[in-house]
Every structure is written in C-alpha cells, then in structure tokens.
C-alpha cells in the first residue's frame, strides 16, 4: 500500500521492452507504465495483494548466469544474455521488480491462461448483462470481449445463490455475480478498519456475507461497490436508476470536511445520479465517505432558493442587488460580514473585498465534527484554509458568532451581510436577528433567509467552479457539473456586482477573470491561474500559518504538525 520511494530504480523487461521502476513495483504497474495492460480482477493498487483471481498470469524468466562461474550465459543467436523462462506462469500482481526480471504478456500460454480464467469465471455467472446494473463498467464484460471464447462449453446447471442480500443500508449483494475476488473484504478490513465481511462455504459455493450479527454499515461501505469489478455489489441509491454510459463525469471535491476528498460527479442532462471518489494518491487514494455521496441531493432539495427576494417580494437580481447595496451603504460603519469556510477561495476573496469596501469586520463560522481518522476530519468546512489564505480571517474561527452577537446587542452592528451561513445556526438568537437588517446570499432557505431583507440565491458546489484549500494546504479545484436553477447567477458574479454596487472596485465575475487579481494580491497564490490548477491539486506554502493551532488529527494522508 505504501508508495515506493523514487530512489533505487530496477530495470525489468516486459515483452522485450525495458523499463526502470522503483523497487517494490509489481508487474501490473510496471506494464501499465509501458502502456501494456495486464488484465486483473482481485488486484487493487490500494489494497493488499490476494492473488486469487489468476487473471494476471504471465510468463516469467530471469537472466541466465552460469552457476559455476557466475558469468552471464549468452545466447549465440541474439548475442544477448540468455533468459531462463520458468515452465509455470506466475501472477503479475505479486511479482515485484527484481534485477534481471523478464516477463512476457503476449505468448500463447498467457493467452490460454486468460481464456481459461475467463471461461471459469463465466460458467457460473448469470450472463444477463442486459439486466445487470454493472453493464458498461463491468470488468468481466470488458475482459470477456478481449479474452472470452465467444461460446460456452458449459452445459451443466449453474450454481444458484441469493440474488438480493442487503449487506447494510446502502449496499446490495447479488451472490451469483460475485467473482470472489475479496476486494470488498480487504477494503473493509484494511481501509475502513471495519472487519465485517467474509466468505462462508467452500469452493464454487463460497458466498460473501457479513459476520454474524454485523452489517456493512460503516461510512465507507459504498467504496466496496466502487471496487467490486462486477455487478455483485451495487449501491442501493444508484442501482437501476441510470445506465452509466449516459453519464457525464465532472471532477469535484467533497465539501464535508477539510480533507478535500477528490470526487467525480456523474450527471445526465443536468441531473446528478451519483458521486464517486476520484483517485488522488496524496489525498484520498481511491476512496470517499458514504456521507459525501449523498450531497448531490441538496441540489434538488425542496427548500432550495431559486429567486432573489427584496423586502419579502421576489425581485430581479438587479433590483435585489440594488436593494442590498442601499441597505449596506445606508448603515454607514455598522455593517458586519459573515463569510463562509464553505465558499470557494475566489468567493472568499470577494467577500473580503466587500468587507473592506464596507469597512466591516468579517468572520466565518467554524464547523467541527468528529474526525474518523480516515477521510473525515474534525474541521467540517472544506475551505477554512482558504479564508486564511485570502485574508478573509486572521484567526481560526469558533463555532459561534459571539463577537457579532455582542456587537448587535450593543447596537454597534445594524446590518449583516451573510454569505452562505445561517446566522441562527451559528448562535444568533431570533431577537438578535430581528434587531438587524440581513442580506443573505445562500443556496437553501433557513432562519436567516426568512429574516433577511434581501435574499440572493446561490449555487451549490455542483453548479459552479472554484477551488478549496484543504488541510494539507493543497489547492484543489472543482468544476461545474450541472447548471444551476434557471435565473440564479453565479455566486462570483453576484458578489462582484454587489461589490461594485457598494462602491468597491470592479473585479472579474468568473473564476478565469477573477484569478489574476488573486494571484496579484495573495502571495501564496502568486503565479497561480485557475486553469493552471492541476487535477491532483497544488500544494501551497503553509508556513505563514504555522503558528495556528489547527484541530485536525491524523487521517489517511495527513499528519498534523507536531504540537509546539
């Protein structure tokens, strides 16, 4: 599971082509680097090796040395050192780079091995792809095309096994489709640290099950669905809703916590059907929490704000912005700004500009939860670091807006601009809310929107582009997966226009046009452009914030800085 050190490279020869790979690299990965595909089922780069499917069998040889003289034995025909080929094939997934190692992946024996394994996997398999939910992303289907016989020699009765077993609230098992690769078992034990799955019975009657009295219900259970190479494990939420080949994939970020899990959003015609993890070896490997997969449901939630409101009446965005600007300007220096650790870096930058233009103090709302040591951290804002980097805040936020409440009580604040935060949830009482005038920019209706004089509808993370800075100070971008509700403008545009309306500078209204300003002003982002943020994210210099006491504990690829 550990990443091999980039030092000591070992040269191996695959199908006659040499490649230098780090020590510990197995032959599936080495071949991948040469563009050679070694088919496999049980092997998964982030799990221990089980070696049970036998699909990856290859021929192996070692350079020949004379046992007496220890001198290389030369092949007179080719003039090269001879290779001693082993009579039996070996599994590529458990064959690690060694000096002089040769493998062949394209010989008749290897082809025969693959065809044999394919035939064996298919004889008891239902072969009803048209009604299987995995079709289109099924390894068995893909490899049957490449290595299947095309006809069946099997005329016996197939094994009969349970078709619909709920292993837990979110995962359904079809035992007849299971190829017994044990990926799900290894994942549960090794990554989710919840050793809950195992096989019962023997031989071809082996059946996946939970241990007696247990259920697969940990917050990572749906990863088993992702890594199941066939249609045995399916997501209760997603199964039979949509054929995967119709779905568009958009890179995104899980907003649940400061871990910043990389995700893929799967949508069709503006509707999201599922969220899956996107591999990032520095952040989340190939995993994500189940909870993060549910977040797409907020897009079409009942309480979604889809129109601007001014004084309780629906208004055009221009009218609402004008009303908001009027309120803010008329409050002289009694304005406060509440920004959000859930806003993107560029939105936080504009929020800071608004606070500056209004000479208003700014806070964000801290959000704490239990860290699970895997991919959920205690900081449940995806972008607390962004608020620091953009200068929106100087100190780490608390969960309550205590200072704001005191200022309201003291009559020092009469008007609040709340960006993406529910002031009531952050501790303001109904009386305090009633005492001030509120301009609220947000996605969903809540106590704050109900109390607000002006409501500006906003977009969810799935409907806009932007970037977050995670606990590792890694800048990671997300991209629009689906369009927002009709008539709702992009949050950046709304904020930029409000800024102009209150007398601030005119800045870009899209990520692309705004980022030059960020790069120019923020040292940590100097020379970064939005388009230039790589898919795997960009580590930023965290030194300026080394003195802060961040709360996160260790998680998958994160170690907190040693307490000083």
């Amino acid at each position: 599971m550990t990443q091999p050190a980039q030092t000591d490279l070992i040269t191996v020869t695959i199908d006659g082509r040499e490649i230098a790979v780090p020590k510990g690299t197995n032959m599936i990965e080495a071949a991948r680097l040469l563009g050679i595909d070694i088919p496999h089922y049980c092997y998964h780069p982030k799990l221990s090796v089980a070696g049970n499917c036998r699909m990856c069998l290859v021929e192996m040889g070692m350079l020949a040395f004379d046992p007496a003289t220890k001198q290389p034995v030369m092949d007179p025909a080719s003039g090269k050192q001879k290779v001693n080929w082993m009579p039996k094939p070996v599994i590529a997934c458990f064959t690690n780079a060694a000096p002089g190692l040769h493998i062949r992946t394209n010989t008749p024996l290897v082809r025969e091995c693959r065809e044999g394994v394919m035939e064996f996997l298919l004889i008891n398999h239902p072969l009803d792809c048209p009604i299987c939910d995995q079709a289109g992303e099924c390894k068995l289907q893909e490899q049957a095309t490449a290595y299947g016989r095309g006809y069946s020699r099997f005329i016996e009765q197939k094994n009969v096994k349970p078709k619909r077993t709920l292993l837990g609230p979110r995962v359904m098992l079809d035992d007849e489709r299971c190829v017994l690769c044990s990926r799900c078992i290894r994942f549960s034990k090794e990554v989710a640290k919840d050793d809950v799955l195992g096989f019962v019975d023997r031989g071809s009657y082996s059946t996946l099950t939970c241990y007696p009295g247990r259920r697969l219900e940990n917050n990572y259970s749906l990863n088993t669905v992702d890594i199941c190479p066939v249609g045995a494990l399916t997501s209760v939420d997603f199964r039979f809703k949509m054929r995967v080949w119709f779905l568009k994939q958009t890179p995104s970020i899980d907003t649940e916590s400061s871990v910043g899990v990389n995700t893929t959003v799967w949508s069709r015609e503006g509707v999201i059907y599922r969220i899956t993890p996107r591999r990032n070896d520095a952040v989340n490997d190939t995993w994500m929490p189940d909870s993060g997969r549910e977040l797409y449901k907020q897009v079409r939630a009942e309480n979604r704000l889809t129109a601007a409101l001014a004084a309780g009446q629906s208004a055009t965005l221009d009218a609402a912005l004008a009303a908001a600007a009027e309120l803010l300007k008329s409050a002289a220096s009694a304005v406060a700004v509440v920004g959000s650790g859930r806003s993107s870096v560029d939105e936080q930058f504009l929020t800071r500009k608004l606070a500056a233009a209004l000479k208003a103090p700014a806070w964000i709302v801290g959000r704490a939860g239990e860290g699970d040591g895997i991919l959920l951290s205690t900081d449940r804002n995806p972008n607390t670091r962004g608020a620091l980097v953009t200068g929106l805040i100087k100190a780490l936020p608390g969960p309550q807006l205590g200072e704001l409440a005191a200022a309201i009580d003291a009559g020092k604040v009469t008007t609040v601009l709340a960006v993406n935060e529910d002031l009531a949830a952050a501790g303001l009482t109904a009386a305090q809310l009633a005492k001030v005038r509120v301009i609220y920019l947000g996605t969903h209706a809540n106590a704050t929107s109900a109390a607000a004089q002006v409501v500006l509808p906003a977009l969810t993370v799935f409907e806009k582009s932007g970037a977050f800075i995670n606990q590792q100070f890694r800048l990671q971008k997300f991209v629009t997966a689906v369009p927002g509700p009709a008539g709702v403008s992009d949050d950046l545009a709304t904020l930029a226009r409000l800024l102009v309306a209150v007398g601030g500078p005119k800045l870009g209204e899209t990520a692309t046009t705004l980022w030059p300003a960020l790069a120019a002003e923020i040292p940590a982002l100097a020379s970064v452009s939005f388009a230039g943020i790589p898919d795997e994210g960009l580590p930023l210099d965290s030194k300026p914030w080394a003195g802060l006491r961040f709360g996160e504990g260790a998680s998958l690829h994160f170690q907190p800085a040693a307490a000083t």
Binding site: R54, F120, N124, G203
Partner: protein, 450 residues
C-alpha cells in the same frame, strides 16, 4: 502379524498384543531414551544426522527433511515453530492414524527431538477433525509426558523447554496443505498462502519461521537420532532411504497397512504376495499409487524408464519399486503411500466421478481455476454417470483439468486435475464407450444432481 517382506520400524508395535498407548508401556519398551540422549547433544549435530539420513518427507511431496530444516530462517530473531501435520485426509491414506492411536509417545518423542534440534519452544499437532479419539489420546499422552518431564519446562532435567499443543481441524482436506493449515491454526479460513513469498520456513505461523512435517516423518527422526543418520541411510535404497508406511485399499484379497524398506519391494510383490492378489475371478485394472491425487496407472501399461547410463528399462506396474523416484519415473508419484487398487469390475468414469466429487467439495474456493474447474469436472462426470454422457466429454474434462494445473495458488490445483488428466489420458476409450453404451437420456429436470 507383519508380513515377512515387511520391515517394521515405525509400526514396530502397531497391533502388537499387549502394547498400549500409555507412557508406562512406552517406557517399558525403552521409550524416551533417545530423547534423553539427544538433549545431551548439540542441536546442530542432530540436524546433521537428519541431513545425513537422506530422510524425505512422508506427507506427500517427498521433500528432503534435512533441507527443509536447513531453510528455516534462524536469524530473524523470531521464535521458530514446529507443526505436526496430522491432517491425514488424502483419500487412500491411512497410516498416521495408527501411530496416533496406538503409539502416540513415539510421535511425541520424535517431535521433541525435532524441536530440540531446531530450537523450537512451541509445537502444534494439527489433527484432522474427524479424529476426535486420536486427539484425546494425544492430549492424554502429552499430559503423561509432561508429568514425566519429557514435554514442557526443563525437559529431562536440562535447560531446554518446549510445549506441545493439540489443535483439531474442522473437517477440511485443504487444512492438510501446509499454508492452509497455518491459516487455520491462526484461526482463519484455511486459504493457502501464496508461495513465494510465504514459505513457512521464513514467514509461517504468525509470520514466524515454521517447520511443517508429517507425523510419519517425525517418527523417523526419532529413529535417526537413535541409530544415526548414516545407519538410517543404509536402510532402503540411495535417495529413498529408510522405511515407508504403505496403505493398500481396494480390490485385493488382503488390504491393509504395511511398512517396507523403501525401494526394496515392487508394487507387484506388494499386491500379489503381501496383499494376496486380486479377488477370485478378477483382474487388476488400474492402480492409484500414492493417494487419490497421484496419477493413475494402467495395469497393462508399459513404462520405459531411461537409466543414467542410457539403457532403458521396460517395466510393467508389477516391476515398479515402492519408492519416490521410481513412481516419479513412471509419471506418477509415491505421494502419501496410499495405494488404491481397482479391478476389472470398476468403471473408470464412475471412479473419476467419485474423486471429482471429493475435490469439488474440498476446493477451498480461493482461486478461480480450482474453485470453478473442480466443480465443473464434478458436474461433467456426475452428468455422465447419470445417463447424459457425450462422446466429447472426455476431451472436455481433460481440457478443463489442463486449465487448472499449474495456475493455482496451491498444489490442490494439481491434486484435483491429475486424476482427471490421467484417467482420461489412459482410459480415453472407456470414456468414449461410456457415452455410447450408458447413455440414457432423461428429462432435463432429473439433471439437478449437482
């Protein structure tokens, strides 16, 4: 009474009137004297004796015991374990059970000498689940031996201490495979481990260096320590030293268990002289010589054995000496010493159906070729036997077996495909004839036999 052709060393007291499995009886016969003597010797010297003896493992593979001990990683700083393989489940094999039932102290003495030689502090006897009585006998014997200071702390009053634990299996053949056994002993499903890297000698029980030896093998160690490796090597034939326990079952007049000097008598003398030949009016047809996994021999087959000097021997089955190398030269193996004899009444399709049912039932299910292939072979032979045989089934069976052997995690892959491969190769006509004569089409629903 032992047959005059026998030479009983391990089985010296088996079925001896008045001999009982208790310690007192064992001591009356001079028991534990070798252990007493051995713990006075440097351990390395004992290992050398075993190396010199040429002892080959009796569990099936015939691996050199001294070499196995030599491979043990002694530098790791981890404890070294010894596991006694008492899983004896290979069909046709019945030898270890007599040692366990009738002469358990011989085994315990062999274990303790082996442990001392290898600096082992904990030994496990993994005994087949179907031997509850044997497990009780071993427990009792170990308790007796412990009370008499032959097991446990300060053995024979010296500084060396070693415990023996009995662990019962739960009824799975694969627990006889050494790495499956280790997994089972660790409390897991007995999924055999991948070799390399999980060689027991390096990464065995609890990832510590481990020696796995068969019951009979360890009893031989006692006699080697007694008479010396050189003297032991004088028994039997070069490269196949010592005596061997042989169990004969099937269609002979006098089936049973015997002990011979390796290579000193032939399969013919065993079956005709010792076992009294075929039943009246019958002829031998086929022999499985070393447990059900070994390849079958035809009784009218000729074996051309190339000698080192270039000459070629022409053997029938009756000429094959009972030793590892001769059986290997005939394309099969001496294996576990379980000889299964079939006479001309036996239909080989039906016999294979029986074996295939066993292997399909016992495949652990870990790896694809064995898991699916073993059951497929069973389904084919079951269908044939139930009247739906096809002419092409023999070829198909062999082809399925070819897709298993050499491609699996553990040697069960070979164990389950060798019967099919050899039955079809040697009795192909019988498979064809079966399709032609025994075919009785049945309604499809009657085929739900598997």
């Amino acid at each position: 009474m032992p047959h005059p052709l026998e030479r009983r060393v391990i089985f010296q007291h088996i079925d001896e009137p008045g001999y009982s499995p208790d310690l007192a009886c064992y001591l009356r016969q001079g028991g534990y004297a070798v252990l007493r003597k051995s713990v006075q010797r440097p351990p390395a010297e004992l290992i050398d004796e075993v190396k010199r003896s040429g002892l080959r493992g009796r569990g099936g593979a015939g691996f050199l015991c001294g070499l196995k001990w030599n491979l043990v990683d002694r530098k790791s700083g981890k404890p070294i374990y010894l596991i006694v393989n008492a899983d004896e489940s290979e069909p046709g094999t019945f030898k270890d059970r007599y040692i366990i039932h009738q002469d358990p102290h011989q085994l315990i003495e062999g274990i303790m000498i082996s442990c001392y030689a290898n600096n082992v502090k904990q030994a496990y006897i993994y005994i087949r689940g179907e031997f509850p009585h044997g497990a009780r006998i071993l427990e009792t014997a170990i308790a007796e031996a412990r009370a008499a200071n032959f097991v446990g702390p300060n053995i024979c009053g010296g500084a060396y201490s070693c415990e023996i634990y009995v662990h019962r299996g739960a009824g799975a053949y694969i627990c006889g495979e050494e790495t499956g056994l280790i997994e089972s002993l660790e409390g897991k499903r007995p999924y055999p481990r991948i070799k390399p890297p999980f060689f027991p000698a390096v990464l065995g029980l609890y990832q510590c260096p481990t020696i796995v030896n068969n019951v009979e093998t360890l009893c031989h160690v006692k006699h080697i320590a007694d008479i010396g490796g050189g003297a032991y090597a004088g028994i039997g034939t070069p490269n196949n030293t010592g005596t061997r326990l042989i169990g004969v079952s099937g269609h002979v007049q006098r089936p049973g268990y015997f002990e011979f000097e390796s290579g000193k008598i032939t399969l013919g003398r065993l079956l005709h002289e010792v076992c009294g030949g075929p039943l009246p009016g019958r002829k031998f047809k086929a022999i499985i010589p070393g447990g059900s996994s070994s390849k079958i021999l035809r009784c009218d087959e000729r074996f051309k054995i190339k000698q080192k000097d270039g000459t070629v021997l022409d053997w029938g089955y009756e000429d094959i000496p009972l030793d590892f190398d001769s059986f290997a030269a005939c394309g099969t193996m001496g294996g576990s010493g379980g000889v299964i004899v079939m006479d001309d009444r036996v239909n080989l399709v039906e016999a294979l159906g029986n074996l295939n049912a066993f292997y399909a039932h016992e495949s652990c299910g870990q790896c694809t070729p064995c898991r699916e292939g073993s059951l497929w072979m069973k389904k084919i032979t079951a269908r044939m036997v139930h009247g739906e045989a096809r002419v092409e089934d023999g070829e198909l069976l062999k082809n399925v077996a070819d897709q298993i052997a050499g491609r699996t995690v553990c040697p069960f892959g070979e164990a389950c495909s060798w019967p099919t491969q050899s039955f079809v190769q040697k009795f192909g006509d019988e498979f064809k004839a079966y399709a032609e004569t025994k075919r009785q089409p049945r309604p499809v629903d009657a085929l739900t036999l598997v």
